[in-house]
C-alpha cells in the first residue's frame, strides 16, 4: 500500500482563511454523521472549485433530501 504524507483533503477552512471555531467544527462533524445537509460546506466547496453557488439554500436542501430518499438503510 502506498501511504504518503498527504494534505488532508477533508479539512476545510472558512472563507476568510481563518481556522474554523471548535463549535462550528463539532456541528459539521455531527451533520456528516447524521447525514444532514450542510449549505455552508456547499458554499465552501463552490468557492474552492472557483465558481459561484448554483443552488440557493432552499434548492440545495430540497435536492439533498430528495437524494437521501433514494439511499438504502440496512436491516
Amino acid at each position: 500500500m502506498w501511504k504518503v504524507r498527504m494534505r488532508r483533503g477533508t479539512e476545510r477552512e472558512t472563507g476568510d482563511g481563518k481556522r474554523e471555531t471548535l463549535l462550528r467544527r463539532a456541528s459539521r462533524v455531527a451533520r456528516k454523521i447524521l447525514g444532514a445537509p450542510d449549505y455552508q460546506a456547499y458554499l465552501e466547496h463552490c468557492r474552492a472549485a472557483g465558481h459561484g453557488p448554483a443552488l440557493s439554500e432552499r434548492e440545495y436542501v430540497a435536492q439533498f433530501f430528495e437524494a437521501k430518499g433514494k439511499g438504502v438503510r440496512c436491516c
Binding site: 500500500m1 502506498w2 501511504k3 504518503v4 504524507r5 498527504m6 494534505r7 488532508r8 483533503g9 477533508t10 479539512e11 456541528s27 462533524v29 455531527a30 451533520r31 456528516k32 454523521i33 447524521l34 447525514g35 444532514a36 445537509p37 450542510d38 449549505y39 460546506a41 456547499y42 465552501e44 466547496h45 463552490c46 472549485a49 439554500e57 432552499r58 440545495y60 436542501v61 430540497a62 435536492q63 439533498f64 433530501f65 430528495e66 437524494a67 437521501k68 430518499g69 433514494k70 439511499g71 438504502v72 438503510r73 440496512c74 436491516c75
Partner: protein, 678 residues
C-alpha cells in the same frame, strides 16, 4: 525495540483472546460473566483488523493513496464529498446497523450463548468484514457504482438482472419480517403503541421545521424531536394507566398489521422530507446514542450470563423459537452481525462516494463491520442475562411451548406463570408471553441492565420506562427501514417494469408511483399477515427465510468480488472471498433444502402443509397456502443464486483459461491532488 514491543503487545492480545475463548468453551454448568465474551470478541477483532485487513489492503487489493477516489474526482459538495475517515465511519455505521444485529443473536440464543457468539466473532473477521471491504473497494474503483451495475459489467447482463431481482425479493421478505417484529412488540401494548404512534406527528413537525421553516436546520429539528419523543415515552406510561385512554391504543396483532400496511404505503408516497428523512434522523440519533450507552452499561455492570453455553436444542433441533439443528440454522439466524448481504448495497451506495483516499476503505469497510458484530455480541449478552425460562416463555407461542415442554423441563428452563406476570407488571405490560421476534426479550434484557445502572446511581430503577425506551428504539429504526425499503423497492419495481413499459418507469408519474407502492406494500403485507396469523408465531418460518435471503445476497456480492479479483489478476488471493462464499452456499442451500423438503412438519414447509391436509380446522387452507408460498420463495431464492453462481463460474473459467481477456471495468487512474509526492 519497537518490534519487540509490538510482538509482546499482539502476542498478549492473542493470548488473552485465546484464554477468553477457553473459558467460554470449557464452562459447563456454572454461570459465566459477560466479561469473557467481550474479551474474546474484542481481542479477535483487534487481531483480525491488525493482520487480516492489512493483508487484504496491501496484498490482495493493493490500495493506493496516490489514486484519486471518486469523492475527489467528482467532488460536488453534495453526494460526492471527501470526508474525514472518523466521520465517515460514523456515517457508514449508522447506515449498516439496524435491527438485524440486535434481533438475530437474541433468537440464536436458543442454542446457548456459545454457537452464536463464535459465529458472530469468527464470521465477521473472515466473512462479513471481508465482504463489506471487498465491495467497498470494488465500488471505489468504479466511480461508486452499485452492486447490480457491477454484476452486470463484470459478470454478465443476465447476472445484473438476476441480482436486481434478488435484491427486490429479499427486500420484500426483509420488510415483512421486520414489520412482524414491531407488530409482536406492540400488540396489546398501549404504552408501546402510543409512543410509536407519536413518532408520526413528531416526524411531520420535524420535516416541516427543516424543510419549510428553517431549511437545513436538521440539528435543531432533531433535538426538538428527541425531546418530544422522550415526552411521548413518559406520556405513554400515563396513557396506559388511564382506563378510558388505554383501550384506544390496545389492539390485536391483526389490527396493527393493517396500520403498518397503511403507514408503509403513505410513507412511500409522501415526499421524503415530510416523514422519511426526519424519522431517519431521529432514529440515527437514537441508534448511535443507545448503542454507546448499552456498551457502557454492559462494561460497568458486567452481568453474569444465565443461559448455558449450549442448550439441548443445538443437538436436537426441535427448538421452540425456530426449528432446525445448529448447522445450518445458527448461521442463518444470525445474518447481520456476522455477514450481511445488505451491506453490499450500502458499501456500493453512499459510502464509496465519500471516501477521501483509498487506504481509508480498510477502516471504514472492515472496521465498520467489526463494530456491527460487536453490537450483535451485546445483543447476545443482553438476551443471555435473562433467565432461560423467561427467555423461552417470551419467544414462543403457547403451542410451541407445549411441543417443547419436555426438553425445557429436563433442562430446567421453566418459569411459573406468576413469575411471568410479575415480570410483565414490572415492565409495565399486561403480558410478555409469546412476544416472539427478539425485540421484547432484548428490551427486557436491556431494561434490566439499564435499571441496575440507574439503581446503582441511587435513583429509582425505572425498569418499565427503560423497557419501553428499548422497544421504542427498535421500533423506530425498524419503521425507518420500512419507509426507505418500501421506497427503494418501489424504485426498483418501476425500473424493472420500465424496461417493458417506459411510462411506468417515470418516478414522478403518479399512477405509477401509487401502483408500484401498492404492489410493494402488498408484497410484504402478505408475508406479514401470514406471520401474524401463524399459530407458531410467524418468526418461526419468516426469520429463516429472511436469513437465507440475506446470506444469499452476500453470496451474490462475494461472486462479484471474486470475479473482480480474478480479472485483476489476483486469482492467487481469490480464496479470500471464495472461502466465505463456499461456506455461505453450503449453509444457505442446506437450510433452504431443509426448510422445503424436511419430513419434520415443524421444519419443512411441505411436510407442514401435508400434516394439515386432513385437518378440520378452518384456517388449514390458508396455512397450507402459506406453506406453499414459502416453498416457492425459498426455491426461487435458491434458483436465482444457483444461476448466478453458475454464470460466475463460467466467467472465471473463461478468464482463467484465457479464452476471454481479463478485462476489468475499473475507472482509469487519476493522480490524487492530495498526495504531496515525497
Amino acid at each position: 525495540m519497537n518490534r519487540i514491543g509490538a510482538l509482546l503487545l499482539w502476542g498478549g492480545i492473542s493470548g488473552l483472546g485465546a484464554a477468553a475463548f477457553g473459558v467460554l468453551a470449557l464452562s459447563r454448568g456454572e454461570s459465566i460473566n459477560a466479561a469473557w465474551l467481550l474479551t474474546a470478541a474484542v481481542c479477535t477483532y483487534a487481531v483480525g483488523y491488525r493482520f487480516y485487513s492489512r493483508f487484504l489492503a496491501n496484498s490482495v487489493f493493493g490500495l493506493d493513496d496516490r489514486r484519486a477516489t471518486p469523492a475527489e474526482r467528482f467532488n460536488n459538495g453534495r453526494d460526492f464529498v471527501p470526508t474525514n475517515r472518523w466521520v465517515l465511519y460514523g456515517h457508514h455505521f449508522a447506515a449498516i446497523a439496524g435491527a438485524g444485529p440486535l434481533v438475530g443473536p437474541v433468537l440464536a440464543a436458543q442454542f446457548g450463548f456459545l454457537p452464536g457468539t463464535l459465529w458472530l466473532v469468527i464470521g465477521v473477521v473472515l466473512g462479513g468484514a471481508v465482504q463489506d471491504f471487498t465491495i467497498l473497494f470494488c465500488s471505489l474503483r468504479r466511480d461508486g457504482k452499485s452492486l447490480g451495475q457491477m454484476a452486470k459489467e463484470e459478470i454478465s447482463r443476465s447476472a445484473g438482472i438476476t441480482g436486481m431481482l434478488a435484491v427486490l425479493f429479499i427486500m420484500i421478505i426483509l420488510l415483512a419480517v421486520l414489520a412482524l417484529i414491531v407488530v409482536n412488540a406492540l400488540k396489546a401494548s398501549p404504552w408501546g403503541l402510543f409512543t410509536i404512534a407519536c413518532t408520526i406527528p413528531i416526524a411531520l413537525l420535524m420535516g416541516w421545521w427543516m424543510k419549510r421553516w428553517r431549511p437545513g436546520k436538521v440539528g435543531e429539528a432533531s433535538a426538538v424531536g428527541a425531546v418530544l419523543l422522550l415526552g411521548a415515552l413518559v406520556a405513554g406510561g400515563w396513557v396506559a394507566a388511564q382506563p378510558q385512554l388505554a383501550p384506544l391504543f390496545t389492539h390485536t396483532a391483526a389490527a396493527i398489521t393493517w396500520m403498518m400496511v397503511a403507514y408503509g404505503f403513505v410513507a412511500s408516497v409522501l415526499p421524503v422530507w415530510m416523514l422519511l428523512c426526519p424519522r431517519d434522523y431521529l432514529s440515527t440519533f437514537l441508534k448511535v446514542t443507545t448503542i454507546l450507552v448499552l456498551a457502557l452499561a454492559i462494561l460497568v455492570i458486567l452481568p453474569p450470563l444465565k443461559m448455558p453455553a449450549l442448550t439441548p436444542f443445538a443437538r436436537l433441533g426441535e427448538g421452540p423459537v425456530f426449528a432446525g439443528k445448529l448447522f445450518p440454522f445458527a448461521f442463518i439466524t444470525i445474518a447481520c452481525g456476522a455477514i450481511s448481504g445488505f451491506h453490499a448495497l450500502v458499501a456500493s451506495g453512499t459510502t464509496p462516494k465519500m471516501i477521501a483516499r483509498e487506504s481509508d476503505a480498510r477502516f471504514i469497510g472492515y472496521g465498520g463491520m467489526l463494530m456491527e458484530s460487536f453490537v450483535g455480541v451485546m445483543a447476545m449478552i443482553a438476551a443471555c442475562t435473562l433467565d432461560p425460562g423467561v427467555y423461552f416463555a417470551m419467544n414462543t407461542t403457547p403451542a410451541g411451548l407445549a411441543q417443547a415442554s419436555q426438553v425445557l423441563a429436563q433442562a430446567g428452563f421453566v418459569v411459573t406463570p406468576d413469575v411471568m406476570h410479575q415480570l410483565a407488571t414490572q415492565m409495565g405490560e399486561q403480558t410478555l408471553i409469546a412476544r416472539s421476534g427478539g425485540a421484547p426479550s432484548l428490551a427486557v434484557g436491556m431494561a434490566q441492565i439499564f435499571a441496575s445502572v440507574t439503581s446503582a446511581l441511587g435513583g429509582r430503577t425505572l425498569t418499565a420506562l427503560w423497557y419501553h425506551f428499548a422497544i421504542m428504539f427498535e421500533a423506530l429504526f425498524i419503521l425507518t427501514t420500512i419507509d426507505t425499503g418500501t421506497r427503494v423497492g418501489r424504485f426498483m419495481l418501476q425500473e424493472i417494469v420500465g424496461h417493458v413499459w417506459p411510462r411506468f418507469g417515470e418516478t414522478s408519474w403518479y399512477p405509477s408511483v401509487l401502483a408500484s407502492s401498492a404492489l410493494v406494500v402488498a408484497g410484504w403485507g402478505v408475508f406479514l399477515y401470514q406471520g401474524v396469523v401463524d399459530p407458531l408465531g410467524g418468526i418461526n418460518s419468516l426469520w429463516p427465510l429472511f436469513g437465507i435471503s440475506n446470506q444469499l445476497l452476500a453470496a451474490v456480492a462475494l461472486c462479484v468480488g471474486t470475479t473482480i479479483l480474478i480479472k485483476m489478476g489476483r486469482q492467487r488471493f481469490a480464496w479470500v472471498t471464495l472461502t466465505p462464499l463456499a461456506w455461505l452456499v453450503a449453509v444457505t442451500m442446506t437450510a433452504g433444502w431443509q426448510k422445503v423438503f424436511s419430513p419434520d412438519p415443524r421444519l419443512g414447509f411441505l411436510a407442514h402443509a401435508a400434516s394439515l391436509a386432513a385437518s378440520p380446522n378452518l384456517d388449514a387452507a390458508r396455512l397450507i397456502f402459506n406453506d406453499r408460498l414459502n416453498t416457492f420463495v425459498a426455491l426461487l431464492f435458491m434458483t436465482v443464486v444457483a444461476v448466478l453462481i453458475v454464470t460466475s463460474l463460467r466467467e472465471w473459467w473463461l478468464v482463467l483459461s484465457r479464452r476471454k481477456p481479463a478485462l476489468v471495468h475499473e475507472a482509469s487512474y487519476v493522480e490524487s491532488a492530495y498526495a504531496t509526492g515525497d
